[in-house]
């Protein structure tokens, strides 16, 4: 019988997902921001 992830696993899954998503968004923003600084005349 499959009960799916335990509540502790669910908590860790949510936490890891949010951290990884924030890292990805952070890298995206950081690269554009650094290019904005570099491209400023």
């Amino acid at each position: 019988m499959n009960l799916g992830p335990t509540s502790e696993q669910r908590r860790r899954i949510r936490w890891t997902t949010v951290v990884l998503a924030l890292i990805a968004i952070g890298i995206y923003v950081a690269f554009i921001a650094s290019s904005v600084i570099k491209a400023r005349p």
């Binding site: 019988m1 992830p5 899954i13 997902t17 990805a24 890298i27 995206y28």
Partner: protein, 525 residues
């Protein structure tokens, strides 16, 4: 969870009809969809390659105008990289990672479905961009400005398609990391994971690190095109070389994103058909991690001819050469695994062996062009085309085919036609060399890449290469037929499938793998 929600999954299988595929959250269904999608893209991208090879069959302009030729080289590459090779490895990951770590499914099944359909949307847009006024994107897959900014109405479509494909990849990677880190069976420590799982874990981190960089670069292209920014235009204080740095900071790890899962597949197959455990498991894991790390500090070897300080050239030359060390560890360990093994040569092993030899050729030519002064001769010639096709076709694509032939009986429950699969191997292995090996000669003789016409001195080897291209392309129809035939029936496969008694949790479940597996987590000792 309340007791009213506790129920087994055995009483319900997949939904019926098209809804099953649109709404499924099952990792096996989604894995199948990724694999079918990548096969379709492989055939579409392959057809574009045949347009290129048909035009290059002899000197002069025969079939297509130069603009369309450039579109073909561009879209062929984008489709093969982002639509064929990457989704194929994602499909294998979806199918096999939960089975290999003893998880009932991926950790984020709804996002898994969303990632897949986002990818389909991305490539529908990219292919539709071919029909826009002004033609499709034609600046090469690197999308260098200022050339790419001359693209017609296809430009926003192509950029949006890349954003969607990138978002899909990032979501897929998050899913893979979260699954591996949280849903491993009890007792499966990180250093007990199968190599395929390890290579995908490292690949997923690479993807999360570099996909946003590429997304940032193409966002800036978009604003340069439509909002009068000048990130990459010297006239407004920007720098086109900045784009090249950003692109290759993504682009070089991207190569490893395609090849690391291939390493994982081969690391599963060679021990099975050598009937020996993998030689140097820990070293293989550390070598994979080392390659991933080094992939971040070598990007400017793609730009030696752009011009950079001597110290920069030295750094990127030496760091690139350093990658040969962990890669050499891998090649040595695969060879050592076979040493004194009881080898048998089923189709997966044949493809894995061809991978070993031919990928290494691609690696050696890579070492040649790592030498900065030598690269000045090779840059933008067919030698480069030969190099990266050796890495990606008999490298990544052969490993994917090996993986499909290895695990297909587990997916379908049937053994496939071994004779036809072996014939497919030999035709592919011969024609892929006829196709790409002469391109080394053409490059060394000075033939530039991305040109629809060429001097008559290059005629003979181009003709040979084109014959190889059509031979290789037609051979893949046999691959499609073997897969189709296997899905329709054949000798029933046992749980272990192979006489070689493969190791791993995926071989403990029946063939075909039930719709829901590991309702109770297996314990790994």
């Amino acid at each position: 969870m309340s007791s009213t929600h506790i129920h087994g999954h055995d009483e319900h299988g997949p939904a019926k009809g098209i809804l099953r595929w649109l709404t499924t959250t099952n990792h096996k269904d989604i894995g199948t969809m990724y694999l079918v999608f990548s096969l379709i893209m492989f055939l579409v991208g392959g057809s574009m390659a045949l347009v290129i090879r048909a035009e290059l069959f002899m000197p002069g302009m025969q079939l297509v105008d130069p603009g369309f030729f450039n579109t073909m080289t561009t879209v062929h590459a984008l489709i093969m990289v982002f639509g064929a090779v990457m989704p194929a490895t994602v499909g294998l990951a979806n199918w096999m990672i939960p089975l290999q770590i003893g998880a009932p499914d991926m950790a984020l099944p709804r996002m898994n479905n969303f990632s897949f359909w986002l990818l389909v949307s991305a490539f529908s847009l990219l292919i539709l961009s071919l029909f826009m006024p002004g033609g499709g994107p034609a600046s090469g897959w690197t999308l260098y400005p200022p050339l790419v900014l001359q693209t017609g109405d296809a430009f926003p479509l192509a950029i949006f398609a890349i954003h969607l494909a990138g978002a899909s990849s990032i979501m897929g990677s998050i899913n893979i990391i979260v699954t591996i880190m949280n849903l491993r069976a009890p007792g499966m420590s990180l250093l007990k994971m199968p190599l395929f799982v390890w290579t995908w874990l490292i690949t997923a981190y690479l993807l999360i690190a570099v996909m946003p960089v590429f997304a940032g670069a193409v966002t800036m292209l978009l604003t340069d095109h439509f909002f009068n920014t000048t990130f990459f235009a010297a006239s407004g204080g920007g720098d086109p070389v900045l784009y090249q740095h950003i692109f290759w900071f993504f682009g070089h790890p991207e190569v490893y994103i395609m090849i690391l899962p291939a390493f994982g597949i081969v690391s599963e197959i060679i021990p099975t058909f050598s009937r020996k455990p993998l030689f140097g498991y820990d070293a293989m894991v550390y070598a994979t991690a080392s390659i991933a790390f080094l992939s971040f500090i070598v990007w400017a070897h793609h730009m030696f001819t752009v011009g950079m300080p001597l110290a920069g050239e030295m750094f990127f030359m030496l760091s690139t050469m350093l990658i040969a060390v962990p890669t050499g560890v891998k090649v040595f360990n695969w060879t050592a695994t076979m040493w004194k093994g009881s080898l048998s040569f089923e189709p997966p092993m044949l493809f894995a062996l061809a991978f070993l030899f031919l990928f290494t050729i691609g690696g050696f030519s890579g070492l040649m062009m790592a030498i900065a002064p030598v690269d000045f001769q090779y840059h933008d010639t067919y030698f480069i085309v030969a190099h990266f096709h050796y890495v990606l076709v008999p490298g990544a694509v052969f490993a994917i085919m090996a993986g499909v032939y290895y695990w297909m009986p587990k997916w379908t429950g049937h053994l496939y036609d071994m004779k036809l699969a072996t014939l497919h191997f030999w035709l592919s292995a011969i024609f892929v060399n006829v196709l790409f090996f002469p391109q080394h000669f053409l490059g060394l003789a000075g033939m530039p890449r991305r040109i629809p016409d060429y001097s008559t001195q290059f005629a003979d080897w181009n003709m040979v290469s084109s014959i190889g291209g059509f031979g290789f392309g037609l051979s893949q129809l046999l691959f499609v037929y073997v897969i189709w035939k296997c899905t329709k029936g054949g000798t029933k496969a046992t749980a272990e499938v192979w006489d070689a008694h493969p190791k791993g949790l995926e071989w403990t479940v029946p063939s075909p793998a039930p719709y829901h597996t590991f309702d109770e987590a297996p314990v790994v000792k």
